[in-house]
Symmetry: C2
């Protein structure tokens, strides 16, 4: 992307600025990745202290969003990028919105973990939540990697993982509903687990959005609201 | 905003382009406003046909998002706006993301409406859903109006409405939990109502985000992740 056939840079300074913003996006991504891991582990292990960590770390994510947005606006105003450079800046503005919302969902899971840690009850759905958490964590990690390496094939692979997340989420929801019907005293607790599953499902959607921006960035084609098949076609077009 | 002390336009053509994009944003806003109204009415009145309308209309919202995004990128590349004009384009890129997600939430409510219309059961929580729907509808409408008139006072007023939405949402959730515990056969149905309430609560958040962009646009200050008091200070600063 940063090669001379796409960008036409007036200066090495401009390149350095773009690299610095990209690196901040990856830092922000690393934060929400860790926040998600912490929140899921806190929930599954009943570790309310780790849950608090996941909650408190959200302010760092929010602060980075504001900083990166400001730097993108400055680059747009001062450097007036075009073509690939412009797409990079627009893709970053969108990516950080999704990263921030992943942070919000991880924060919610942190609150649920703290709430659940203080409650009696069995943990029979925690394995399924853990599996969903691992799946979603891989999606965030690989989406960020696709963004870092501008790898459309990987972006596509991550987007394809989302249907598995939806399956896992639907399975957990069905099990929890049955469980609540059998034991109405478990309702409050089961709803907390259901909200956590829902938050993880949303994180999968945000990771998928980031992959769509990577394809837009590299191929110049907007693949939002299209099928996986249309995304494949766009990704493979050279 | 469009006055000569902020923008320095090379041409009337540029002004016309910006106005056209703004008007498309308002069209998109009008669509999600109607979609939300239809979805809530479909749910409350058990009208599955209207629910389908709310679902099907989402493609129009999605298509407008892609079109407006493309036009914003073109304006950034060809016109290289600065200062207030640049903030307008950035605020539009962000606003349409929230409008698109309001559309997604309305679509979800449409699906829930169709599902609920096919189920036996009482409607005792529908009044509360209706009230929440009306509240949230006012927020979307007034947020769009604040965007159209660049009215920071109104943006602030809408942002303040969100705590009321959270209260209403928490009230509905509490009532539904009690209800599910008393009558476990109502669980599936009650969860549908709960998801609808949740979707409305999210719509309130998206309307609030739009108000934050209006304040950023007019005052040049990013008020995301700040308290209502800090927002007030930023909005009133001249």
């Amino acid at each position: 992307m940063r090669s001379k056939d796409i960008g036409h840079h007036i200066s090495a300074q401009f390149n350095a600025e773009l690299e610095e913003i990209r690196s901040k996006v990856l830092t922000m991504g690393g934060l929400v990745e860790q926040q998600t891991l912490d929140a899921v582990r806190a929930l599954v292990e009943g570790d309310s202290e780790l849950g608090e960590t996941a909650i408190l770390n959200d302010y760092k994510v929010n602060a980075l969003e504001v900083t990166i947005d400001e730097e993108c606006s400055q680059i747009l105003a001062r450097r007036q990028p075009t073509a690939g450079d412009l797409r990079l800046v627009v893709a970053i503005i969108k990516t950080i919105t999704d990263l921030e919302r992943i942070g919000d969902e991880a924060e919610k899971i942190g609150h649920l973990a703290v709430h659940l840690a203080g409650m009696e009850g069995n943990k029979q759905h925690f394995n399924a939540i853990n599996a969903l958490g691992e799946h979603v964590h891989t999606m965030i990690h690989d989406a960020l990697d696709a963004f870092a390496r501008l790898d459309v094939e990987q972006a596509l692979a991550v987007a394809k993982m989302d249907s598995k997340v939806d399956e896992q989420y639907n399975g957990i929801t069905r099990q929890l509903i049955t469980y609540m019907m059998e034991d109405p005293r478990s309702i409050t607790r089961s709803l907390d687990v259901m909200w956590a599953a829902r938050a993880l499902e949303r994180i999968g959607d945000h990771a998928t959005n980031i992959c769509e921006y990577v394809i837009y960035l590299v191929r110049g084609k907007d693949v939002r609201h299209t099928s996986i098949e249309q995304m494949e076609e766009a990704a493979r077009k050279h």
